[in-house]
Amino acid sequence: MTATGLYTPRPGAAPLPRMIAAQAVLETKMLLRNGEQLLLTVVIPTLLLVLFSSVDIVDTGAGRAVDFLAPGVLALAVMSTAFTGQAIATGFERRYGVLKRLASSPLPRWGLMTAKTASVLVTEVLQVILLTVVALALGWSPHGNPLAVLLLLLLGTAAFSGLGLLMAGTLKAEATLAAANLVFLLLLVGGGVIVPLEKFPGAAQTVLGLLPLSALSDGLRDVLRHGAGVPWGDLGILAVWAVVGLAAAGRFFRWE
């Protein structure tokens, strides 16, 4: 046993921006490599958009079906990534000690969460591009202020991320998997994505309208379909969900 000098200590953290960027790239790769995640974030929204736009299954009211469906499917895409996908992935990372191991690396915890958010946003950009191209091909004619759309997407992402991380950080991984998929399915039906909320009984409409997915799809529809200004009501609902969800996640999230 002789000293080779190969392992002589030379500790040090990489520069913070480099660490966060590397982490975001890895998180995005993991997401795009995962078949179940792609089913949820890409295949299902695209399929729903194509199917319900071209086949007259659900009465979406006056006007072209795609004009009703495209904003709802965009909202669904945001939920699938920021909430469902993020909750399931983070739940299993917690279960398999990934979060724990990274917590003793030079990357600070807030750096890890920043990287996760960046990875969610990158995925959403890809989803929006894909779904927009498909919707345009189906004859979609969007209106409205792009800034209002961006604001809705960002607040929606914040709201869904908070709820997803709250779930991932408190429940067991299997419970998160089941619950996140169930919520996805229930909101797909009751969140104003495919079925207009007007189809539900009056009392139910009020309650359903307060759900984050309903607020996001309604807000996007107001702007993109009807060319409305800034939908403050929907933004307000999303803001409340974002504040409550993120605060609860910050308070109750357990790393292992």
Partner: protein, 308 residues
């Protein structure tokens, strides 16, 4: 060794609900390799994880490289390497990809290719973590712990369940780390691992350190001090003890298995034992003279087998 301790634990207490995992533990680890030896559930992992900053002590103080692992975590983390008992890798990440990622979080990492080669991970570099064998997963975790060129490495049961060859490779790496001035704290319930690798062994049981010293010190100079023989069960050990010199101990470990411990087993002692056997009409099978092992030390200190 006069150098500053790398780890100083004083009167550490850590409870999980009603269960006390660590109960007033004191431990000083100097530069070099320190083994924390004890059975499952003794409090090894809790102690090490408190040093790594994962757990906040209920009472007592912990200093690692002079820093508080919880309050000064940001300063400490780049200087230590951590190998968890299991997991720690994205199930879909490829072995090499994950190692490169961890390397990238450090300012002056080791050469990743050389490390992969060294630990025999070359053949599975493109394999997703979930499809690696247990041994490969463990070697990857070890590589992740050292790739950042830390001053101090924590290895929690680094060779549990490894085949002999992989175990050797791990031991060789620990020796090389030590030779290059990296300190290592490792937990183990293999006494041979502690004897092979450690400069210093802390024997831990029920949340306390019950003995600490070099393997030689703990095994009383490493002399051949243990005589074992088998005979019919239930022999009068008290009578045997009377025949032996005053500093000896004798015990029936399991029915029919006897052990005599002395400062040094010499021909005279052997003759004494065999003549006592002759007087009592006992045919002593399988007489052996051997070194006192850490396993014996542990048994003496606690009355328990190490691998319980």
């Amino acid at each position: 060794m006069r150098s500053e301790p790398v780890v100083q634990v004083q009167a550490l207490v850590k409870r999980y609900g009603a269960k006390t995992a660590v109960n007033g533990l004191d431990l000083v680890a100097r530069p070099g390799v320190t083994a924390v030896l004890g059975p499952n559930g003794a409090g090894k992992t809790t102690t090490v994880e408190t040093c790594e900053g994962y757990r906040t002590p209920d009472s007592g103080t912990v200093r690692v490289l002079g820093l508080d692992p919880v309050r000064q975590s940001a300063e400490l983390r780049p200087r230590i390497g951590v190998m968890l008992q299991s997991g720690g890798v994205y199930s879909g990440a490829r072995a090499e990809e994950m190692l490169r990622h961890v390397a990238g979080l450090h300012a002056h990492p080791l050469d990743v290719d050389a490390l992969i080669e060294r630990l025999g991970l070359g053949s599975c570099g493109r394999t997703p973590y979930r499809r690696l064998s247990g041994g490969q997963q463990q070697r990857l975790a070890l590589a992740m712990a050292v790739v950042g060129r830390p001053e101090l490495v924590f290895l929690d049961e680094p060779t549990a369940g490894l085949d002999p060859q992989a175990r050797r490779a791990t031991w060789d790496l620990v020796r090389d780390l030590r030779a290059d001035g990296v300190s290592v704290i490792l937990t183990t319930h293999y006494m041979d691992e502690a004897e092979e690798l450690a400069d210093d062994v802390a024997v831990i049981d029920e949340g306390r350190v019950i003995a600490q010293g070099s393997p030689e010190e703990l095994c009383r100079g490493g002399a051949e001090n243990t005589l074992r023989f088998t005979g019919r069960p239930g022999l009068d050990v008290g009578s045997l003890l009377k025949a032996l010199p005053a500093d000896c101990t004798a015990a029936e470990l399991t029915p029919g298995a006897y052990r005599v411990v002395a400062a040094k087993v010499d021909p005279q002692l052997l003759a004494t034992v065999t003549s006592w056997c002759a007087q009592h009409g006992v045919m002593p099978d399988r007489i052996s003279v051997e070194r006192h092992t850490l396993e014996d030390v542990f048994l003496e200190l606690t009355g328990k087998e190490l691998r319980s």
